[in-house]
């Protein structure tokens, strides 16, 4: 074997030109320099993180308390942290794209076409698979067991594996910044463009394997969440007594189980095309790319509801809590949720009305699509009527909820337009479509996730977030949204194709400049969120809510300390109706010492999830670069810990009753010593998390 052969065995197709720094050195254009800068950020960020962990001696706590933990609360928090990191990157990419389009009207702009295509592909892939999915999975992970009176999810180790697989996929996307390139085929990766004939490089392979890892993680999460809700509810908590967030989590989990496998199949078949010369989706030898498109949207449309339903759940909780009122129409909300779940599988074809199928087929799918707007509209009215005869407080999460209702309705209207095939024909693939789905996902997902994050943050960390910065963030996210996306509706009606690196129509320019300003405002919204976190951590001692119920809320999660003990509930609660904690407070039964404490058995930490995630990422990296030995090693690395784990008998640890009693006594003493705060003062430092019951009936 000659020297080249050795290198091929060792490094596959990885060579110096894989590094953006080398490319920028050889060809120092603005576009390449931006790429090199982004790659450098990844490297500097990684080095900086390692230095910080070493300097602060945080390595051991990081592994012991977090990465190997099977506690659903910690896994939930790690998911949200992952979402925050990925959101930052993808939002910066969005600003870069908006800047490019506003500069590139009859001009080259700053980003080359190839680079621009990678930007919109990573932006979409990250926002869906590595921002939205981790964020909502994280919230569900944290909140659902607490809401159903459980101590953990049904399968704690599987939970850790799901997290680490998603993390591995996210790591792969980040690595593509510093090593190689990413796909230019968009987040949906349509072949044959993503096939070997048109993109022989590593880009689509990065996309395939990152999405595959994420989709496997999601399927496992779905199984876990559904099993948790079916099997781990506390006594008396019938399905119809669950908080609405649990209903949406259940529906999302079911959708995850049924909708994600088509995606895994689609990416697997595409991988076979690329690696082993199969012809599922190629132009020649009987391949048909429309099979991919059907598979992808068979996943893709339910995915929209996977994303939006948990946010619906959050809004239901937030609006009810900050109106100090029972949710209006609980049963119709739960029914509407499940109806949306079923209908979401019947509409995938509306993503390609322009494929050339018959008018009747298009019309049938168009009508099915509009049908979904009925249960969705019902939900909107349920939230509005929840405020009716309530006591509404305009806290940051509530403001996000109100902005959601108004903005989401506008997105719904354009959704109905797109559901009508003849109208779709003239706005499909234009920025009108881009405006529409951002109009659904920014209010309908991101506002919900941010509202949920702010609402449950005091529960998770024991102190409230800064209201002031929360409102600044709100102002930026809402005004930024309108400025960034309303112009795109206009441009789309003017026939502007999406994914355009340059434009040749001077009339587009003013609208594109407004949209770019909006994108900058959205980025300020993210910066405000980080400022809020920073300020709140700094001032945490003034904002503690140890008793655990800062918002006078209604579900079981508020009935325990903030932050909750590892075991969540010292004794498993019994529930006799909806909103159990509200009624316990009404009857004066809250914060009572149970008759006796018992030992609590909790899962021990495990390295399996971490090893599986790392090995899966290594295997995928090897596949991307055709490094055989690394793929094989990674593949073995996935299965060896899983098999080894099945021989381990000692997987539980017991928390003695005395320890539980000591923790609980401390908390109950605090609760009894705390002064109850009225709702007028809930954002003041004297809110220790003990709510003063509202005077039950205020006369009109």
């Amino acid at each position: 074997m000659n020297e080249d052969g050795h290198w091929l065995t060792l490094l596959g197709r990885l060579d110096l030109h894989a590094f953006p720094f080398v490319r920028a050195w050889e060809d120092p254009t603005v576009s390449e320099l931006i790429g090199a800068f982004a790659g450098a950020l990844v490297v500097v960020g990684a080095v900086g993180l390692v230095a910080l962990l070493t300097w602060k001696r945080w390595w051991r706590p990081l592994f012991r308390d977090w990465l190997t933990s099977l506690d659903h609360k910690k896994i939930g928090i790690m998911y949200v942290v992952l979402a925050g990191v990925m959101l930052s990157r993808a939002l910066v990419e969005a600003v870069l794209m908006r800047a490019q389009q506003s500069l590139a009207v009859d001009a080259p702009g700053i980003v080359a076409p190839e680079h621009f295509a990678q930007l919109f592909s990573t932006h979409g892939t990250i926002m869906i698979f590595f921002m939205a999915m981790p964020f909502l999975t994280g919230l569900i992970n944290y909140v659902v067991p607490l809401q159903i009176g459980a101590r953990d999810v049904a399968f704690p180790l599987l939970n850790s594996i799901s997290l680490m697989l998603t993390g591995g996929g996210a790591g792969l996307v980040m690595l593509s910044l510093a090593v190689g390139e990413f796909s230019t085929g968009g987040w949906s990766g349509y072949p044959p463009y993503t096939g070997k004939a048109f993109q022989p490089g590593v880009g689509p392979d990065y996309w395939i394997w990152a999405v595959t890892l994420a989709s496997l993680g999601t399927t496992l999460s779905g199984i876990n969440i559904a099993a948790t809700i079916y099997k781990k509810r506390c006594p008396g908590l019938h399905l119809t007594r669950m908080p609405l967030f649990c209903w949406t989590a259940l529906c999302t989990a079911i959708l995850m189980i049924f909708a994600t496998p088509p995606l895994t199949v689609a990416t697997a078949l595409l991988a076979l095309d690329r690696y082993l010369d199969f012809h599922f989706f190629t132009n020649d030898l009987g391949g048909n790319m429309m099979n991919y498109v059907n598979l992808f949207w068979l996943f893709g449309h339910p995915e929209v509801y996977i994303l939006i339903l948990p946010a619906f759940g959050v809004f239901s909780e937030v609006i009810s809590a900050f109106s100090s009122k029972e949710l209006y129409g609980y049963k119709s909300l739960a029914t509407a949720t499940m109806a949306i779940g079923v209908l979401s599988f019947t509409v995938w074809l509306h993503h390609f009305f322009t494929m050339g199928q018959s008018a009747s087929v298009n019309a049938a799918f168009g009508i099915a699509t509009m049908t979904i707007s009925i249960p969705t509209g019902v939900k909107i009215y349920n939230w509005i009527w929840t405020m009716f005869r309530g006591e509404v407080r305009f806290t940051a999460p509530m403001l996000f909820a109100l902005a959601f209702i108004v903005t989401f309705v506008l997105g719904g209207l354009t959704g109905i337009m797109l559901a009508i095939p003849p109208i779709d024909y003239v706005v499909h693939n234009t920025v009108f479509l881009v405006a529409h789905f951002h109009n659904m996902l920014i209010p309908g997902l991101l506002y919900g996730m941010i509202a949920g994050y702010m609402y449950w943050f005091p529960k998770a960390f024991g102190f409230r977030l800064s209201e002031g910065w929360g409102k600044v963030a709100f102002a930026c996210w809402v005004s930024g949204f309108y400025l960034a996306f309303m112009p795109l509706y206009v441009l789309g009606l003017g026939g502007m194709a999406r994914r355009s690196q340059a434009l040749f129509e001077p009339d587009y320019r003013p609208w594109l400049i407004v949209a770019a300003c909006g994108a900058v405002l959205l980025l300020s919204g993210l910066v405000s969120l980080f400022m809020q976190l920073f300020v709140s951590v700094r001032d945490r001692d003034a904002n503690r809510v140890p008793v655990g119920d800062p918002w006078d809320a209604r579900g079981l999660e508020w009935s325990v300390a903030a932050p909750p003990p590892e075991y969540n509930f010292a004794t498993i609660p019994r529930v006799d109706r909806l909103d159990p904690f509200y009624w316990r407070k009404e009857r004066g039964e809250a914060y009572r010492r149970p008759a006796r404490y018992a030992d609590i058995v909790m899962p021990k930490n495990s390295w399996v999830g971490l090893l599986v995630g790392f090995a899966a990422a290594a295997c995928a990296f090897g596949l991307v670069w055709h490094i055989g030995w690394l793929s094989l090693l990674g593949f073995l690395g996935i299965w060896i810990p899983v098999v080894a784990r099945s021989f381990v008998r000692d997987v539980h640890r017991t928390i003695p009753a005395a320890e539980v009693e000591a923790t609980e006594r401390l908390w109950l003493e605090r609760a009894h010593a705390a002064r109850p705060v009225p709702r007028e003062r809930e954002t003041e430092p004297d809110n220790l998390g003990l709510a003063r019951p509202f005077p039950a009936q205020v006369t009109a």
Binding site: P113, I374, V426
Partner: protein, 310 residues
């Protein structure tokens, strides 16, 4: 100059009712769009319709906009009113924390949206069929046939009856409807002339169809809207609706140019490149469109090759 007549041939009364409804809807829709008035950007799309298909689509769009006002208005009004009236600091507002259901209200929440969807569904069914891209447009003149091949990053238009072809320039007489058969010799693309008609995909090994027409002579922008690589943003083409004389002159110019689109010329053309200026071909290899299609369709190979299985 004759104008192409609208495609639908509904009974007169229904058509009149329909037209007045449309006019009302157009009026309402225009009011809604007034803030955007004066901006030229909308003239580049379907709202600046220059042909019967785009015109009918615009009518449908404005009708839908008008109906949707009734969907949006209650939400946009009630949300701020309720939130503000029932704010904590308003001690005069009622407070009923344990009220959470009411049957008449439930009816009000479920039934009107259902009715609106049913109404929209009727329009949807009717207009999806009326505006089916495969449906020939009604006209007193026979349609002009054009075969369209999507390439990276350019469009090839073959005129089988005239025996000429052009790249990035679709020309036709303004008084005749155009009947396009589309395929792709590369990745999937989406053919779009915003001011004349809607989009249709062009896919390798498959044929799709699109019918369009212009009201009057004019020059319009056509484009591919499906991303297909680094030349995507440059893949625009000119659409020329011409007077009969101009069109005859255009054909004559193509023939006089003397270029031949034979397999060798086609191979050069099909390579991935951006084509800044339109090109005309005076003659085209016979059955070029069919052979492009057959390259990517094993079914066509089998049907026209040697019947080995017999």
């Amino acid at each position: 100059m004759l104008e192409a007549t609208p495609a639908h041939a509904l009974p007169v009364r229904a058509a009149r009712r329909n037209r007045s409804l449309r006019r009302l809807a157009s009026g309402l829709g225009l009011v809604a769009l007034l803030p955007l008035g004066g901006c030229g950007v909308l003239d580049h799309g379907m709202l600046g319709a220059a042909g019967p298909v785009a015109d009918q689509t615009r009518g449908l769009f404005l009708l839908v906009c008008a109906i949707l006002i009734f969907v949006a208005a209650p939400v946009l009004l009630l949300t701020p009113i309720f939130a503000w009236h029932y704010r904590l600091s308003n001690t005069k507002s009622a407070y009923r924390p344990q009220w959470g259901f009411n049957w008449p209200l439930e009816g009000l929440i479920w039934i009107p949206p259902t009715i609106i969807v049913i109404v929209l569904a009727v329009f949807l069914w009717r207009d999806t069929h009326a505006l089916d891209p495969y449906k020939p447009l009604a006209s007193s003149h026979p349609p002009i046939e054009v075969q369209v091949v999507a390439l990276d990053w350019k469009w090839l238009f073959i005129y089988p009856h005239e025996g000429v072809a052009s790249v990035n320039e679709l020309a036709f007489p303004a008084d005749r409807p155009v009947r396009l058969s589309l395929t792709s010799d590369t990745v999937m693309q989406s053919f779009f002339v915003p001011r004349l008609a809607g989009q249709i995909y062009a896919m390798a090994g498959m044929t799709t169809q699109l019918n369009l027409a212009a009201d009057a002579p004019g020059r319009f922008r056509g484009e591919n809207t499906q991303f297909n690589g680094v030349g995507f943003q440059n893949q625009k083409f000119a659409v020329l609706a011409q007077s009969n004389d101009d069109h005859a002159a255009w054909i004559a110019r193509a023939r006089a140019g003397g270029r031949t689109l034979d397999p060798a010329a086609y191979a050069t053309l099909a390579a991935r490149s951006v084509q800044p200026e339109p090109v005309l071909f005076g003659s085209v290899a016979p059955n070029l469109f069919r052979s492009i299609l057959a390259r990517n369709d094993p079914g066509l190979h089998a049907a026209h090759g040697h019947h080995a299985h017999e």
